[in-house]
């Protein structure tokens, strides 16, 4: 029941991990409970900390889903820019790209067998 799942090069036992995680969470909750008893767990009414600036509307102050990976997209701009240009909505172009990729893959698989 507690035997590891073997992959040949590695292994892990999911049930043991889940069991250990439960025990560790309980220990962590005990650590959390070690704090000062008089300290309160309060629910603050008011705006979030904005360095003294007035809070703009919630819709405009949070990271939008489209910007979640902003740093990554910005860093990879030289890669994404031409890719976005190619994705122009024309199905003929997508089919052409598909044929080109298949051709490259075939060459990569067939050529080593020939030589």
């Amino acid at each position: 029941m507690f035997g590891p799942l073997e992959t040949g090069a590695g292994y892990w036992t999911p049930l043991v991990w889940v069991g250990s995680m439960v025990v560790v969470v309980l220990v962590t909750l005990v650590i959390r409970g070690l704090g000062e008893r008089t300290a309160k767990n309060t629910h603050m009414k008011g705006d979030p900390f904005m360095s003294g600036n007035p809070e703009v509307s919630k819709e405009n102050s949070h990271v939008r889903a489209g910007n979640i990976y902003w740093g990554f997209l910005k860093a990879m701009e030289p890669y994404y820019k031409p890719l976005m240009k190619w994705h122009n909505g024309n199905v003929n172009d997508y089919v052409l790209m598909f044929i080109m990729v298949i051709a490259v893959l075939l060459l990569a698989i067939v050529l080593p067998g020939v030589f």
Binding site: M1, F2, P4, A9, G10, Y11, W12, T13, V16, W17, G19, S20, M21, V23, V24, V25, V27, T28, L29, I31, R32, L34, G35, E36, A39, K40, N41, T42, H43, M44, K45, G46, D47, P48, F49, M50, S51, E55, K58, S61, H62, V63, N67, I68, Y69, W70, G71, F72, K74, A75, M76
Partner: protein, 347 residues
């Protein structure tokens, strides 16, 4: 091993790992802050300061912002610390074998390393603060950034272990710790292995959100980012998790690159005795301190914070290329034609 025996092992191991990891982690933070200050020409706080910080945080009120998703906001620090402590159960410390060594390998460690970071992201997004959501977004992007060179380094080591010791599981930390690769390879392999060690040292500060990769927190621009709305014991738990993660990252680097023990040098100490374990554990702490010094203290003293796009570029392009070079050198080491020793007049 029976189920009851395993459960007993997990409970005792967890208690020891939690106390040990927290104490060593806070001590490491104290040493780091002291050395960082001395390198900047300051006196710095006392070594006990991180312990005082935790005591102070645990005595303060725990405030939950009005905008926050309460249960998620409170659960994130618990999961973060728990995830970090769980990692300790899979890592060897000197000659002390991991509590769950037979139940998880290096691939599992790579996945478990994501849990504390992900808990911080969840905490940031659930804070309801624009600063925290920007910090959480940056933490995710940083995680995407350093995973590639980290995985390249781990795979290179496992591939070499598989080539040299095909009968043993290549991704097992016990296999890697039992056969230090430095003595098993030629010059090319050693250069490649040293490159991978350097990569791991540069991945460590990103994993720990330390300068130059502390963009998710960035006190001067995001006022603490992910942590901006956290206070009291919740912030204390994140602080403890940071200490434990420092031990985890240091211990992984020690296990992969410098797993050597000191007890075999002393002929008067019987192998497997308490004395041998203590000597090896003491030596492990010295190696851990050295790794933390170079990976955290020196880097954060010498380099300024990078922008988030620079972090990704650095990890995905130059560092991944360098890691791949390390991998290629280690693979070339097994090609007889490329052996350098005979060309130099050696064997």
């Amino acid at each position: 091993m029976s189920s009851v025996e395993l459960l007993f092992r997990i409970v005792i191991g967890t208690l020891i790992a939690a106390v040990g990891g927290i104490v060593i982690g806070l001590a490491a933070k104290g040493v780091d802050r002291k050395l960082h200050a001395r390198m900047q020409g300051r006196v710095g706080p006392p070594l006990r300061q991180p312990f005082y910080d935790v005591l102070k945080l645990f005595a303060k009120d725990n405030t939950v912002p009005d905008n926050a998703v309460g249960w998620m906001f409170n659960a994130a620090p618990v999961i973060c610390l728990a995830g970090a402590i769980t990692l300790l159960l899979y890592i060897p410390f000197g000659s002390i074998l991991p509590v769950l060594g037979g139940h998880g390998d290096l691939i599992l460690l790579l996945y478990l390393l994501i849990i504390p970071g992900l808990a911080m992201v969840v905490g940031g997004f659930s804070s309801g603060s624009p600063y925290a959501t920007v910090g959480a977004q940056r933490e995710m992007v940083t995680m995407i950034g350093y995973e590639l060179p980290l995985a390249t380094a781990v795979i290179a080591i496992a591939a070499k272990m598989n080539e040299l010791f095909p009968a043993e599981p290549a991704f097992a930390l016990s296999t890697i710790a039992a056969h230090p690769l430095w003595g098993e390879m030629g010059l090319l392999g050693i250069i490649g292995f040293a490159i991978l060690a350097m990569i791991m040292v540069i991945v460590t500060p990103a994993e720990l959100s330390k300068i130059p990769f502390d963009t998710p927190e960035a006190e001067t621009e995001l006022a603490g980012g992910l942590m901006v709305e956290y206070s009291g014991r919740n912030l204390g738990l994140f602080y403890l998790a940071d200490g434990v993660k420092t031990v985890v990252m240091g211990a992984i680097i020690v296990a992969l690159f410098i797993p050597h023990n000191l007890s075999p040098v002393f002929t008067g100490i019987a192998q497997g005795s308490i004395g041998a374990y203590m000597v090896d554990f003491g030596f492990f702490l010295v190696k851990l301190a050295a790794v933390v010094f170079f990976a955290v203290t020196v880097l954060r003293t010498a380099v300024a914070r990078l922008k988030i796009a620079q972090v990704v570029t650095l990890y995905w392009i130059p560092l991944t290329m360098i890691a791949l070079l390390g991998l290629i050198l280690m693979m070339w080491d097994s090609v007889p034609m490329l052996h350098i020793a005979p060309w130099l007049g050696g064997a």
